[in-house]
Symmetry: C2
Subunit: 215 residues, 2 copies
């Protein structure tokens, strides 16, 4: 498998975690979003959504990280991202999709760029926007976690939810977001970050991170 | 089943279509978003995400429309929203999740309200924002449909993709969005709208639509 990804893209980070958790082998093909490589015709011919991640796997060029995560679990059932029980699957998906559908787009480059360029907002205003929407959804996620009684992970082991959560919290910390009101989320983050699958997936450890390109 | 919904909410509309396609019986409990009923403590105690839809089904109060759609198909396999073949499932999810994850949040009330109140944008500026992001994602969806060779529906019959698409196009038309560059999407819309499952789900036909409350 070949994963076309950008080190700091949270959806790319999701897929790296999931591929690592499932112990699937893949190579990374860096796509520089700041140079708009994802909008070049050679790329959009393969992925008309013009974004990362794109996963080349089993003869197909696949876009949309949530669709890829669901596909991975169906095509490669070992080390499942989702549990077998239908109700437990709902528990995981409700929380994972809260982050994927409510949070991702408003906090992602295309929206933030529009706020800056078209609406002329300052970085301070964008930081407030970022933390406003983060708090809005994470409050719901935290409350649902309190109702379900999660431990170090949502279920017995990290899976779909943790693959989606950890990259979002990485971004939250970049925006100096106060995690104090979210003890369940902070505990899950602390349990995940030291695991090999999460370390290998971290933006700090990607080949296209500029920090890793200095001699 | 009891569906807590608002007539114009596109995620509520998704669920109405899917429940109708699956021929599952449900009653609608209107939640007035304009009166912020979804933020009242009695509601958020049941759904901490503070939004619609919420589906009461099989002893649980379920939020997050995409998680509910996936759950419905697993718990009630008749009249499937997703095909059985793993690759065809990916085809459907890639397109459905493009709309659900890229488009929904930037075009939804919380974001549009923030643009108006905090950033002081005019309705004209919001219309431009709306059509900008709509075009961005629908261009990708249309191109992918051209690659997959869809007919009146993405596959043989309407399912997950059409349940997510049609409400987004309903919103697109409210914002005077030009559908001319999207012939595949327009053809699928024309095929879906006359079907009973889609007619019954339409915002015009909901009890909480003010048009239906006049004597």
């Amino acid at each position: 498998m070949r994963l076309h990804a950008y080190y700091r893209s949270s959806t790319s980070y999701r897929l790296r975690i999931a591929l690592n958790l499932k112990q699937l082998e893949y190579s990374v093909v860096p796509v520089n979003l700041l140079a708009a490589e994802q909008r070049e015709p050679e790329f959009t011919a393969r992925n008309p959504f013009g974004g990362v991640p794109m996963l080349e796997a089993d003869g197909r060029e696949r876009a949309q990280s949530m669709a890829i995560l669901e596909w991975l679990d169906e095509a490669y059932p070992a080390a499942p991202l989702l549990p077998a029980d239908i109700e437990a699957r709902f528990t995981v998906r409700e929380l994972a999709y809260a982050i994927a559908t409510e949070l991702h787009a408003p906090l992602n480059l295309p929206v933030l760029t529009y706020l800056k360029r078209e609406f002329g907002r300052s970085q301070d205003e964008i930081d407030l926007w970022y933390r406003h929407f983060l708090a809005r959804t994470l409050t719901g996620v935290e409350a649902r976690l309190a109702q379900t009684g999660a431990g170090d992970f949502l279920l017995d082991q990290p899976g779909l939810f943790e693959s989606v959560l950890i990259p979002q919290l990485y971004n939250a910390r970049r925006f100096a977001f106060d995690m104090a009101p979210y003890p369940h989320l902070a505990r899950i983050e602390a349990a995940c970050l030291p695991l090999p699958a999460f370390i290998a997936a971290h933006p700090d450890n990607q080949p296209d991170n500029p920090e890793n390109q200095r001699p």
